[in-house]
């Protein structure tokens, strides 16, 4: 508990990290309270062709889209999709990547080599391209987007966890725990994992931004959840053809994506600064 409080106060002292935190909290509040904040919650699924492509006004704060729906309301509900995609995709990547990295880092045998080569393959292909290929093959839908993102993002976690586990393996406290007879499970779950939480958290935060951006790209390319889902990337794609006249149409979701991704990146960078020196301070470099 005191550890979490310590991190929070340190983040609050770092201006850009605080901004990131505020942006993300804002996103979460907006997503959770979407039905409360939306001026036209029914517009997510209802069409009003008579009101199409209206400029921002007191009635439709951010204007209306090509179907005459309120962009502001759709944007709020889009935040829910964004968060669901980000959390589940990063969560799944964690669930796949962290145990694989721990196992590979602990045993350091053929399995580690195999895992690293496999992750090399994943990392060598640009992530968007790979995600597009997967989403295209499986067909456009929300679960498939999440699947495509999880499949492409887990190697990052596996790599980080593998490298950290490997270097921890040489620390005397891990070696002696092993020498005292701790089982591999106990050693990795209770002794190694707590030491590598901070790089994982940092990577997860940056990964949220990255995943959300990729999800928006997939949506833009028509590989995201099908309409009328108010997904941000798809909204931008729709807005493209009206861009010269209805500038507000693309601006709103574009700004939303920008602020969300920036929020996660700023927080990730801030957490890196806050978490790393604290954990490194106690350790000095030395050979065994």
């Amino acid at each position: 508990m005191s550890g979490a409080w310590f991190v929070l106060t340190r983040v609050a002292r770092d201006r850009s990290a605080l901004l990131g935190l505020v942006l993300i909290l804002g996103l979460v509040i907006v997503a959770v309270g979407a039905p409360l904040f939306a001026t036209h919650p029914e517009d997510v699924f209802e069409l009003h062709p008579a009101k199409r492509l209206r400029a921002p006004s007191a009635e439709a704060w951010l204007g209306t889209d090509r179907m005459g729906s309120d962009i502001y309301s759709r944007l709020l509900f889009g935040a829910r999709i964004t968060i669901v995609i980000g959390v589940i995709a990063v969560g799944a990547s964690l669930i796949i990547g962290v145990p694989l990295g721990l196992i590979a880092g602990y045993y350091q045998n053929w399995f580690s080599d195999l895992l690293m080569r496999v992750s090399d393959v994943f990392l060598a292909v640009p992530q968007v391209v790979l995600a597009i290929a997967i989403a295209q093959t499986l067909g456009p839908s929300l679960p498939n987007v999440i699947l495509a993102l999880s499949v492409t993002y887990w190697p990052w976690f596996a790599r980080i966890v593998y490298a950290e586990t490997r270097s921890l393996q040489k620390e005397v406290f891990i070696e002696s725990t092993a020498a005292l007879g701790a089982s591999p499970w106990r050693l990795t779950a209770l002794h190694v994992l707590p030491n590598i939480v901070s790089p994982i958290i940092v990577r997860a935060s940056i990964g949220m931004g990255f995943t959300i951006l990729t999800a928006a790209a997939l949506g833009f390319l028509g590989l995201g959840p099908p309409p009328p889902t108010p997904e941000w990337g798809r909204t931008i794609a729709e807005a493209r053809e009206f861009l010269p006249d209805a500038w507000w149409y693309a601006l709103a979701p574009g700004l939303a994506i920008f602020l969300t991704v920036m929020g996660f990146n700023l927080l990730g960078d801030g957490l890196r600064d806050v978490l790393d020196p604290r954990l490194r301070r106690g350790r000095s470099a030395s050979d065994g």
């Binding site: 620390e171 005397v172 406290f173 891990i174 070696e175 002696s176 725990t177 020498a179 005292l180 007879g181 701790a182 089982s183 499970w185 106990r186 779950a189 209770l190 002794h191 707590p194 030491n195 939480v197 954990l279 301070r281 106690g282 350790r283 000095s284 030395s286 065994g288």
Partner: protein, 358 residues
């Protein structure tokens, strides 16, 4: 039990006897014989110093006794490590793990800075050790591994163990032991962390502590304090210590007996007093002369530590020795008895009178 090899010795009295231990490490240029038939005896309650230059195999010997040689890289070819009448190399690993390592034999590491897990409080780590290695825990539930994750810590034993942890912390002169338990390792100074390490090594009430250069990472002024504390604590409890160091001053401070190691072999073994007054091995003498003296002249030992991959024939020290003869080049010397508890592995041990260095 003790067949062959050391015929002249009386192994029954020894707590630990290492006999003819050979360990090699695989390298790109072939196997390096890091331990080359070393023998060593430690009696109950005795503090033995293992002295030698860097790379002579001190740490490897310490690790071999603990049974924590890097698996895969190191290979034990021959020899035995008899502890309390049982050869640790031939005991089932489960038994060694459960009854010996971390219980009967504990360890004080070289570097107190990287030896605590930085994310857990000191109390958590000490109690975690006691959960498994407390003298109150009736051993022998070995075997099954995974339920250990779920195994609880019986309340009554926890309280009793906590008391003994606090007692040992007080004995190790940790200020405010109760509060110290709640602190993280980085909140302690180097000296205090090493005191905590000593406390940790004493907690399971071991018979033997292996201390691998426990003071090299510390300030010189702190070193002396820690050494005195360690000596006092082990003497009170009758614990034997194998103390490795490259610093003869440190060895003089703490040891009852000193063993000099060179290229994976023991060269001379003598009570501390005799070791400094009457060194019998030319290497020992050179080592003593290399200590910085008041006249400001530092005499190093000419030549280099020999290659362990392709060691010199005969006596390992002969290329650097002033008294080298044909016999030295041809034959590996046996251990000769030159005084009470004073053995030397040399064809031409120096006369007692000749080697008076102080």
């Amino acid at each position: 039990m003790a067949e062959g090899r050391g015929e002249g010795q009386a192994p029954a009295l020894q707590l630990l006897s290492v006999r003819g231990l050979e360990v090699s490490f695989a390298t790109d240029r072939g196997p390096a014989r890091v331990l080359d038939g070393i023998s060593l005896e430690i009696a109950a309650g005795e503090v033995v110093g293992l002295v030698g230059e860097s790379g002579c195999g001190k740490t490897t010997l310490a690790r071999a006794i603990l049974g924590v040689l890097p698996a895969g890289a190191a290979c034990v070819h021959a020899g035995e490590i008899v502890f309390q009448g049982r050869d640790l190399l031939r005991e089932p690993p489960d038994v060694v793990n459960d009854r010996v390592r971390g219980r009967a034999i504990t360890f004080i590491p070289q570097d107190p800075f990287s030896s605590f897990n930085p994310v857990f409080s000191v109390g958590t780590q000490l109690m975690d050790l006691m959960k498994w290695k407390s003298p109150r825990r009736q051993g022998g539930d070995g075997g099954t591994h995974w339920p250990a994750l779920l195994q609880g810590y019986p309340r009554a034993r926890y309280r009793a163990d906590r008391e003994s942890v606090l007692d040992v912390l007080r004995a190790a002169q940790i200020p405010e032991p109760e509060r110290a338990l709640g602190r993280l390792p980085h909140e302690f100074s180097g000296g205090q962390r090493q005191r905590l390490m000593i406390a940790m090594a004493l907690l399971p009430r071991p018979d033997l502590i292996i201390a691998d250069e426990p003071t090299t990472a510390l300030d010189v002024t702190i070193q002396a304090q820690i050494l005195r504390l360690l000596r006092q604590l082990v003497k009170e409890r009758g614990v034997s210590v194998l103390f490795t160091t490259h610093d003869l001053g440190t060895a003089h401070e703490i040891c009852d007996r000193i063993v000099v190691m060179y290229a994976g072999q023991e060269m001379e073994s003598a009570p501390t007093e005799a070791f400094f007054r009457r060194p019998a091995h030319p290497y020992t003498r050179r080592l003593l002369e290399s200590l910085p003296s008041a006249d400001g002249v530092i005499r190093d030992i000419p030549g280099e530590v020999p290659s362990l991959i392709d060691p010199p024939s005969g006596c390992r020290f002969h290329p650097r020795c002033d008294y080298v003869t044909a016999a030295c080049r041809a034959f590996l010397p046996e251990a000769y008895d030159v005084g009470p508890a004073h053995d030397v592995r040399c064809h031409h041990p120096l006369a007692a009178a000749a080697g008076s260095v102080t």
